[in-house]
């Protein structure tokens, strides 16, 4: 298959590889951590009612829209959203600049997410060497904070976090350089089965733990025991809706880039639903059965809740390290189990990282005519340069700013833009027909009005609620405890805006010189 320029485009080599790569994009660290905490804090078992409603009315429709957009753009040689939005809107001038967010956001996300993923690699190694074994929870927490803060040499030299970050980037660079089928797909074909294997072993170990502060059954009860009154609480419904974005990686532009490497008549409905189902399995079945039950067994419910609320990485890293280092039986087995946990999170992370890097790499190819190898090299150098800011200024909330504005609020904003363009500008009729091109699954007709009315209404309600209750106070930095962090947080925002502005300028320049006919100037290979 060739793009409209007559140059060959890369394609996925197999459907199973595509499903696993897309599932790898969706299954991330959050599946194993965010979901059980959200469920426990928002009604327990009853959380699943709004969760499944959000899955059917928000997650699945947006996922199908993104797949369809991506395949449609790929037909014209585009792998990124500026070109796709330009096509979908019939060449409206503003559309391609809005699409720049679909390149800048995943790129920024890639930078800080990969830094977090590199911590998992670090703790995989520390597990095998027994670096934190024999320490109680409080000292393991200090061990983690020393790792995260390069100026705290109490447990680690300042270079250690940087070393693991560089190693992770080098690994990702090698995978991404090999292309779609030779790199990303092969990583998914090896990584995803390994992830599921590790998760099953961990699940079996956690469910057979001897009772300590609680039993494993009490841990599961903590997550699943229903609180019926929560069903009348709007915050619970919005929490379930928000979870859908994180878990399915919606509103980022990564699904579109992956889907652009489909052939024009490849199915998107059944394949897309299959990736969503794989993600749900990883989240509901595996995610809910490992970390929280294990923490409840060792710490009891009140302390587990306190740890989960203290910091986003305290529970998955420090608490789980403390739990696994105290497993009954030989220490070597405990080290292996701890390694399985952190390496599982590392695999979940890198399969998402390669997806997050893909729109930026494709943009460099598409707009600047770079070869894939050169584009990957430039992306890794950019990640190293910007990532150093996180390495150095992490303790001042530099990463937390990006995580909120890109990884939380930005997803919903951008998904709303995508849906509006697809449904109201491209048109639901054309969109529906495009979605069913080569489809192996005919989407129930009810989804047509759902996509046109229910999903946008759901989205804009979520957006309005979050804007008032969270985004505005966060923007005004009302929750920042230490005033000395404020300049760093503003600088963090300035860097984000700067990256978006540079991407827009690159687009403007390349569009004016080679792409003003609406066609991609470079090969997307």
């Amino acid at each position: 298959m060739e793009s409209i320029e007559g140059r060959p485009r890369e394609r996925w080599a197999s459907r199973v590889g595509l499903v696993l790569a897309m599932a790898g994009n969706a299954v991330g660290i959050g599946n194993f951590l965010r979901f059980p905490v959200q469920a426990a804090q928002n009604g327990g078992g009853t959380f699943m009612i709004p969760y499944f409603v959000a899955f059917l009315l928000l997650g699945v429709p947006i996922m199908w829209i993104e797949w369809t957009m991506g395949r449609y753009g790929g037909r014209f040689g585009y792998a990124t959203l500026p070109g796709m939005f330009d096509r979908l809107t019939g060449g409206r001038r503003w559309a391609k600049y809005v699409g720049v967010l679909g390149v800048a956001m995943p790129t920024l996300f890639f930078v800080y997410y990969t830094y977090v993923v590199s911590w998992m690699l670090g703790f995989s190694v520390f597990s095998l060497t027994g670096g934190y074994f024999g320490l109680g929870y409080d000292r393991v927490l200090g061990y983690l904070y020393s790792f995260q803060n390069i100026f705290d040499a109490s447990s680690h030299g300042g270079w250690v976090a940087l070393l693991f970050f560089c190693l992770t980037l080098v690994f990702l660079g090698r995978v991404l350089s090999r292309g779609i089928s030779g790199g990303i797909e092969k990583l998914a074909l090896v990584g995803m089965p390994l992830l599921f294997l590790f998760a099953f072993i961990l699940m079996a170990r956690v469910l057979t733990l001897p009772a300590a502060a609680a039993t494993p059954a009490q841990g599961l009860n903590f997550i699943w025991n229903p609180q019926w009154s929560s069903l009348g609480d709007a915050r619970v419904w919005l929490a379930a809706s928000g979870q859908m974005f994180f878990t399915l990686s919606l509103g980022l532009g990564t699904i579109q880039t992956y889907a652009s490497y489909l052939a024009p008549d490849d199915d998107v409905t059944l394949t897309g639903l299959s990736t969503a189902a794989t993600n749900e399995f990883a989240e509901v079945v595996l995610g809910g059965t490992i970390a929280i039950p294990a923490a409840v067994v060792f710490f009891g419910i009140p302390k587990t809740l306190a740890i989960a609320n203290a910091g986003p990485y305290d529970l998955p890293i420090a608490a789980m390290a403390a739990v696994f280092s105290r497993l009954p039986g030989p220490e070597m087995w405990a080290r292996v189990v701890a390694f399985l946990w952190f390496f599982l999170l590392f695999i979940a992370g890198i399969t998402s990282s390669v997806a997050l890097a893909s729109p930026g790499i494709a943009f460099l190819q598409e707009r600047l005519g770079r070869t894939r190898r050169r584009a990957v090299r430039e992306m890794m150098l950019l990640a190293l340069g910007l990532g150093l800011l996180h390495v150095v200024f992490y303790r001042h909330g530099f990463l937390a700013e990006w995580d909120y504005w890109i990884g939380t609020f930005g997803l919903v904003v951008f998904a709303a833009v995508e849906v509006a363009i697809f449904v109201y500008i491209f048109g639901i009729g054309r969109g529906w027909a495009e979605m069913h091109r080569g489809a192996d699954l005919h989407v129930p007709a009810i989804y047509r009005p759902v996509m046109k009315w229910v999903t946008p209404l759901f989205l804009f309600t979520l957006l309005a609620w979050w804007s008032v209750t969270e985004a505005l106070p966060t923007f005004l930095m009302r929750g920042v405890a230490d005033p000395s962090d404020l300049p760093y947080r503003w600088a963090s925002r300035a860097v984000m805006i700067g990256v978006v502005a540079i991407a827009a300028l690159l687009l403007r320049r390349s569009w004016a010189t080679v792409g003003d006919d609406g066609r991609s100037p470079g090969a997307v290979s």
Binding site: R15, V16, V19, G44, G45, T46, M48, F52, A217, Q218, L220, N221, I223, W224, N225, P226, D267, L270, T271, L273, S274, A277, T278, E280, F281, E283, V284, V285, G288, D440, L441
Partner: protein, 34 residues
């Protein structure tokens, strides 16, 4: 675990396993025919 918690867990897990199995079956079937 309370019986209601067990029921919620079982139904939720069964739902995602069923969805995944049906999708996997249809993907494999269509791949074979395709």
């Amino acid at each position: 675990m309370t019986p209601v918690a067990v029921a919620f867990m079982a139904v939720s897990m069964a739902a995602v396993i069923l969805l995944g199995s049906v999708c996997l079956y249809r993907v494999l079937r269509s791949s074979r025919h395709g």
